[in-house]
Amino acid sequence: MNQSLIDYTLNLADNSLILGQRNSEWCGHGPVLEQDIAITNISLDLIGQARNFYQYAATLIGNDATEDSLAYLRKEEEFKNCILVEQPKGDWAQTILRQFFFSQYQYLLFQQLQNSKDEQLAAIAEKSLKEVTYHLRWSSEWVIRLGDGTDESHQRMIKAIDELWKYTDEFFSATSYELRAASNGSGVDISKLKEPWMNKIKEIFSEATLTIPGKTLIQTSGKEGKHSGHLGNILTELQYMQRTYPGCDW
């Protein structure tokens, strides 16, 4: 059993699942009908990605593991998602900005992961990349629209940057399982993604009349299972049915 490959795959799955769950909180509450559907589509894309990664992780783990047991029955400290994706959805600006940060990261990551020596990861990355390309386009345009919009939308973007920027370094600081996956060719050397990521952020921010903050905290704990309190809240909701009625089906 290849524990680092399992952890690596779970990290990819957990990021998509938790952000998909967060975005789904907008369902029925979007600012306008068209954007309600847009963000819900993105949620479903992310949950679809998560399923692919969980199914693969389940085959690696063996025993009785399934995509459902991995999503619904693991404990908070077993989740390997980064801290950014578990943060509350906040207002529309915060949701948009987080999606933009994350989609740009996923875009760069999946471009590389397509070349993984692990055929399954390569295939999932290739399939997901088209979705992510659209998420990136959609969220970039919203960042520009809000940043370069009214006084209020500009202020809300500044507040969102203040809230979220500090979590973005976690993308690029590798855990031991990411280093191992990168060195044997199944994973991606994420430290190399930081520069192109930053270039894209600068490009969009300058069009949006927004400024990149200076130094920030490096948060690396989520991928190692140390989460902010927000993850527990999501899991309580996400896992409620399976924990209350084990094995329930519909």
């Binding site: 979007g30 954007q35 386009r137």
Partner: protein, 120 residues
């Protein structure tokens, strides 16, 4: 006795407490209306499928993609701002359309089409 009727617009449903604050939704209804046309597959025409609100053409295109093509409805999209569409006046329907009713010789029904010809 006064009865107040409140109209809820989409996204305005109060989330905290029943009754909620009355939120003006003017800014939402200010967004221009767009008409959406989809080509369902190569070789066919774009067909009108509905409308949506958006601030600009790019947003209209993406909204159309998100709202109208989620179930593989199409391969190409057109959006046009509704104000640019000029509609015929229903009161003029008589003079415009009824004269065609008794001119069946204009229909290509007097020919036998080979089976290979589709989309006629």
């Amino acid at each position: 006795m006064n009865n107040y009727l409140r109209k809820f617009y989409y996204g305005d449903i109060p989330e905290d407490k029943a009754g909620g604050n009355i939120v003006s939704s003017d800014s939402k209804s200010d967004w221009p209306l767009w008409e959406v046309f989809i080509r369902s597959k190569q070789g066919l025409d774009h067909k009108h499928v509905g409308s949506l609100h958006a601030t600009d053409a790019q947003m209209a295109m993406e909204n159309a993609r998100d709202v109208y093509t989620r179930r593989m409805e199409g391969v190409s999209l057109w959006v046009v701002e509704s104000k640019y569409i000029h509609a015929s006046n229903p009161e003029e329907a008589g003079e415009l359309f009824e004269p065609a009713a008794d001119k069946i010789y204009r229909h290509p029904t007097f020919y036998d089409l080979p089976d290979e010809v589709n989309q006629m």
